[in-house]
Every structure is written in C-alpha cells, then in structure tokens.
C-alpha cells in the first residue's frame, strides 16, 4: 500500500502508541497536519507557542514512562522549539520532535521559513535526522523512538522536508531496529558490583546520593530497598526528588545549593559515597576542589559512561541502567552475608541528627504577610502529598522542592538542568493529559508564568483543570536574592513593574482567578481551588517580597560553606 510521507509519519506515531502530539501547524507541515486530520488515534494538542509544545510533550514524558511527541513547522517553528528541546536534553527526557522543512530543492536557498534545523538543534539533541526520501521515514522514526527511550534518554529531532511529506511510497514499519554504532550498556561488570558492595558494607559514614536517573529508570523500589538494607542516609538531587520517599527517616532532604544542612554535610563528610543516576552537577556539589578535600571512595552508577569522572574522579564506575545495576548490587550485598557496621552507623547517624537539629529549613512565619514556604506547606497538606507538581524556575521552584515532600517518583516536574522559565504551565498541560483525573499543580512566580502565559488558552480549549499557584513577590526573586547577596543589593532590572491583574487575566482566558493577600486566607483559597475539580484556578498569592531561599551554598563555594537563615 502506498502512503505519503506525511501519512507514514503519522502511522509511525500510531505504531509507537503515541497518544498525544503537541504542536503548531505551518506551511512546511501542512501535509502532516492533513494526515493527522484523517485519523483519530493520535490526538493533537494545539498549543499557542512552539516552546510550549515541547514543554508539554516533556511534562507528558516525565510524568509517565513514555516518549513525548511534538510537531512543529520549519523556520520559527523550530527555533521556538529549541528552548524546549534544550530543556529536555539537559534533563535526559525521552522525546521525538518532528519538524517540517522547506522542500528539498529549496534547502540552502534561504527559502521562506527555512532554517538549518539539524544544525541549530545539534548541540541540544541526543541525535537528529534530515529525511530526504519518504522511503526512509519509517525506519528513521523507528530509530528516533529507540534512541529517545534507550540508554540515557533524550530528545531526537526528525526534520521532514515538505516534498518528502507528500512523496508516495510503500509503507512498512520495522518491528525493531538496530544501530551498529549505538549499544548502550544495561548491566555493569559483576566484579565491580561486588567491589561496590564491599565498600558500602565496610563504610563508616556511607551516603547515598540519588538523582534523576533513578526516576528515569523507574528504580525507586530498588533504591529504597538498598538504602534500607545499608542503613545509610539518602539524599536526592532536585531532579531525583520522589526517587526516594521524602517521609522516610533515612531521607535527609535535597542536597546542593539550596539543600538541607544534613544532606550537604553528609555529602561532604561521608567516607563512601554511592552516586546513583546523578552527575555531580555544579549546583549539587558546588566547588569541586573543596569537595575533593575530604577523602572518600566514590561509587557511581550511571548509564552514560561520559557522566563518570566528568567533574569528580570516581573509584568504582558502574555503567549500566540504574534499575538493573541496583538490583545486581542488592544481590551482591546480600550474597556477602556481611552486615553493615552498626556501631559506625550509629555514630554517623548521631552526627546527622545533630545537623538535622539545626532545622535548616525552618522559616519565620508571619500573620501579616504571606510567606511563600507556608503556601507550599499548605499545598502539600491539602493535596495530601499526592499531587503532580510542576514548577517554573526561581525561588518558588526551590521552595516547592524544599517544602513539598515527594514520596513518589514522577510527581515533581521541573527544569533542573537548563533552568527554563516558562516551563511550568505547559509541562502541567502534558502531565494533566497523561493523568486526566489527577491533581496537577503548577507552582510558579509572576515572572516565569508570563513567559508562557498564553497557554492558559490551550488549557481552556482542552479542559485542563490545572491549579496555578503563583507566588507573586513582584520581584524576579532569585535574581533579587543574588543581587542582595553578591551585588551590593542593587536591584538591577529585577523588579516586576506593571504586572497584569492575574485574576482578570485568568478570567479573560475563561478560567477562575483568586487573589490572596493575607496568610489567613491561604488555606481557604487552596481548598476552594482544589475543590473546583473541573476548572483551572489561577491563585495569585501576594507573598513577602523580601523572602530569600535558605539554606544556600553560594556559587563556587564548598558544601560545608553553607549559609543558614539563622546565620544572617
């Protein structure tokens, strides 16, 4: 049977079980949109800006274990998508982006809406393809999905020129595909696993540091089992939150620039560190040299060999899929018949308890002005810790990460690596579509929300009852905080003037808007909003404009150079 390239592209999505494609039409993708129109298996979500299409596909992928799919046109369609693609790339999110391209005989002529999509996305995709013949579409799409999901996941772009999407060829979808130059590891070397097990069992001050790889690999169960078996403290990175249950007594909170004292001090002072699907990011360990001042053995589980010994030299590399390797490590630990050193652990936990007793996340609540931390605490209570929480980027993101206790993976959806403002609302759309009945909250600020506020329109069209929690402090808060600490308190361009009336704005888009000025109204407003199951509610919380995020490890400093609120 002969099909057009466009029909083949859509058939491939059907074969891959794609539920939703997030996109925006344009000249170069008209044939593909026509093919979409003529079927009803793949549903299209029309966003209002291509960046949002990518973030929505991204949110969909992060909250499920599926590949997110987006469709954009050539030229500005692609360039608008780049921020979203780079966001997904930094956080290793599986995604396939189909972009239209000008017809093959126009390529290179500076045609209308032409951009070198493969060139412009090259540094921020796992791989990309320009398909020059419709006969190659099926196998390319198969490869794209395979690459996106396997190994260290990531976005893959498939660029299809307009004439190729209209070219008729025979369609056959390959059942599987192999790429000779691509063989991601799944399991690590048994000898190294045993060495890691022995190191962990003989540790006096063990620490387990788990990142986004645990979430991506769906390895929470194995991680939790190992942490309990070893009796060691466990910390999660910003990307790993929910990978280990936050309410567990062995959890010491998030680490890093705004991590807890106990997590950062534990990380700095441990003698054996097990890093699981994490990459020793600058926001996590701060100053590498300072981190290296304390001798410790490091075991690192990661599917990407290039992540190992990139910033910090690793003693025992375990390259493989996190879930696989953790399962093997569990078996190895049990096989030794050795128990962790209970005496040493007791001393270690006593030290940790001492750090914990400093209650580094404590903040001074107020009856006059709304404290942003208080809003997140109430959000946690009212949603029973079961909501999907997306966030934008800035202070509100850190407060959400610190005060919402994520007990399950894939519930915390944020742009960790790239730090993309404007991520939260469109990501929440993808999450809500993936989980229709679920409670989805988007924690944002008045700065971030305005970077993709047009998506309130998409939410209306597709009946997405997201709860937007805007912590509105009239400042680009994190910028203001850094200016306060490091730039003589000169608020250069960090004040948000001429803000819209968010209540009216929400109403203009057909949603419900609530403005909350007083701490005593916080709980009531949240309850009212979450009771409106079928409506999007935009909550404009007027929060304390002077509040800062603590603890803080200043940029370039070491983990033990952490500043607590009480220090100032």
């Amino acid at each position: 049977m002969e099909l057009t390239g466009a029909e083949i592209a859509i058939r491939c999505l059907q074969e891959e079980g794609t539920e939703y494609v997030f996109g925006y039409p344009g000249g170069a993708v008209l044939f593909i949109y026509d093919a979409l129109f003529n079927q009803d298996k793949v549903k299209h979500i029309l966003v209002r800006h291509e960046q949002a299409a990518i973030h929505a596909a991204d949110g969909y992928a992060r909250s499920t274990d599926k590949v997110g799919v987006a469709l954009v046109t050539s030229g500005p369609g692609v360039t608008n998508a780049v921020t979203g693609i780079a966001t997904a790339y930094m956080d290793s999110i599986p995604m396939v982006v189909i972009s239209g391209q000008v017809p093959t005989n126009y390529i290179g002529e500076d045609a209308f809406q032409e951009v070198d999509a493969v060139g412009i996305t090259r540094p921020c995709v796992k791989h990309n393809f320009l398909v020059k013949d419709a006969r190659d579409i099926a196998v390319t799409m198969k490869k794209a999905f395979y690459l996106a999901k396997s190994g260290r996941p990531g976005p893959v772009l498939v660029d299809i020129p307009k004439d190729v999407s209209n070219q008729k060829v025979t369609f056959e979808y390959p059942a599987s595909v192999s790429i000779r130059s691509y063989n991601p590891a799944t399991t690590a070397e048994p000898a190294q696993i045993l060495e890691a097990a022995k190191l962990l069992l003989n540790a006096k001050r063990p620490m387990i540091y788990a990142g986004g790889g645990v979430v991506l690999s769906d390895a929470s169960k194995q991680l939790t089992e190992l942490v309990r078996l070893l009796g060691a403290p466990c910390t999660n990175t910003l990307m790993g939150l929910g990978g280990y249950p936050a309410n567990d007594k062995q959890f010491v909170g998030m680490l890093g620039m705004h991590g807890t004292l106990e997590a950062n001090m534990g990380m700095q002072n441990c003698d054996v560190l097990l890093a699981v699907g994490a990459r020793f990011d600058d926001r996590v360990i701060g100053n590498v040299a300072h981190f290296g001042e304390v001798p410790r053995k490091i075991i690192h589980i990661d599917i990407d060999p290039a992540s190992i010994s990139k910033r910090v030299k690793v003693d025992v590399p375990l390259v493989g899929d996190v879930a696989h390797v953790l399962a093997d490590l569990l078996t190895a630990v049990r096989s030794t018949q050795q128990k962790p050193d209970a005496e040493a652990l007791a001393v270690w936990w006593k030290q940790i308890a001492e750090w914990r007793s400093r209650t580094s996340l404590v903040y001074k609540n107020s009856s006059e002005v709304i404290k942003p931390q208080f809003v997140i605490e109430k959000l946690y209570e009212i949603t029973h810790g079961e909501a999907f929480v997306t966030s934008d980027v800035g202070q509100h993101q850190m407060w959400a990460a610190q005060y919402y206790k994520f007990n399950q993976p894939r519930r915390w959806i944020n742009s960790g690596g790239l730090g993309t403002m404007g991520f939260g609302l469109p990501a929440a759309m993808g999450v809500q579509l993936a989980h229709p009945g679920a409670t989805v909250a988007c924690v944002t600020g008045e700065g971030s929300i305005q970077m993709n506020i047009q998506e309130l329109s998409t939410c209306k069209q597709f009946h997405l009852p997201i709860k937007v929690i805007a912590l509105n402090n009239r400042y680009l808060g994190m910028v203001r905080q850094w200016q306060e600490f490091f730039h003589g308190n000169r608020h250069s361009e960090s004040y948000m003037d001429a803000l819209p009336d968010f209540v009216k704005l929400a109403e203009a888009y057909g949603h419900v808007g609530i403005r909350i000025d007083s701490p005593s109204d916080v709980e009531g407003a949240l309850k009212e909003a979450f009771a409106r199951k079928n409506e999007l509610v935009f909550m404009d919380f007027r929060t304390d404009p002077t509040e800062n995020v603590f603890p803080m490890v200043p940029g370039g400093k070491g983990l033990s150079e952490i500043i607590l609120a009480e220090d100032l």
Binding site: K126, L130, S309, K313
Partner: protein, 163 residues
C-alpha cells in the same frame, strides 16, 4: 599532553559537524582533523590530534563514543602507532636556489611534483615535526604557500580499528 585519536563513523552527511561541534561546544582543542571514506564506503575514518590533561582526554574519548554516528574510537597514543602527514609546499625557485631546494627535497625524501620558471611544488610526507623541520631548513623567504593535511594515524601490528 598531545593525543592522536582515530575513529570510525558512519559516512553520512553531518557526521563531521557532530564531531567538530562537540569539540567546540565542550571547549576541547583540535590541532588537526582529517577525514575520508574507508574501503567500506559506509564508514569514514577520522584522525584527530588534540591536547589535554588525562581527564580531558578521557572525556573526549567518552564524548566521541557517545555520538550516535561514531562506531568506534581508539586513542592511538595509548600504544605503538604510526603517524603521517602530507605537506605540499610551493617555493620560489630561481637561480642557485633551484639546486639547493632540489637537494633539500631529496634529503627530506620529498618529491618535486611541479616545476615552473620560477617555482617548485614539493611534496613531503612524514610526522608533523619532520614537516616542520623541512620548513625550518629552507630559506623562509622562499616559501610561497604551504598546505598540510594534518596527521593521519594507524596502530602498529595487532592494533586494528575495525567494525
């Protein structure tokens, strides 16, 4: 430390720019880069000369391996290898210089491959430092233009980079 890295990659449009882009994006330096198809037309072989600490070289190897189009990578500097570069030099050759340049070309086992009334074109192969030596050995004023390919490398004996 100077390292010479060999790699096989898919002979596809854009593969070269993925490698070049990786080096610029991650701030690795490239002293030279040569590439051409192999006896198997689906594969290209590239030789990259770079410099960096052990940690940087380790990352370069890993990051190259991570590129989907890259089939295999070998750091030739890890063992015995041979390295060759081709240089073609056009020199001004008039009067007594003609004889002298011919003599120098012979000493360096170069060949004169083009002759005009006023110039020679000399072809030389060898390691980069041999080519440098030749340029130092002749009168700098006589050099009209030079073109060098950059190093190509191959492992000795059993060190074979294959699919």
């Amino acid at each position: 430390m100077r390292h010479i890295i060999s790699l096989l990659m898919e002979n596809e449009a854009g593969a070269l720019s993925r490698v070049a882009g990786l080096f610029s994006a991650r701030g690795y330096n490239i002293e030279s880069l040569t590439v051409a198809a192999t006896e198997d037309p689906t594969l290209s072989r590239m030789t990259i000369v770079t410099r960096g600490s052990d940690a940087v070289i380790e990352q370069i190897n890993k990051q190259l391996n991570k590129l989907i189009d890259v089939v295999s990578v070998m750091d030739l500097s890890d063992g015995d290898h041979i390295e060759r570069e081709l240089m073609v030099v056009k020199v001004r050759a008039v009067g007594s210089d003609r004889e002298e340049l011919k003599r120098m070309a012979d000493i360096f086992r170069g060949r004169i491959i083009d002759v005009s009334d006023t110039s020679y074109i000399i072809e030389l192969t060898g390691t980069g430092s041999k080519l440098d030596s030749f340029l130092h050995a002749i009168d700098r004023e006589l050099i009209l233009e030079t073109v060098r390919t950059g190093a190509s490398g191959i492992g000795r004996g059993d060190r074979i980079l294959k699919l």
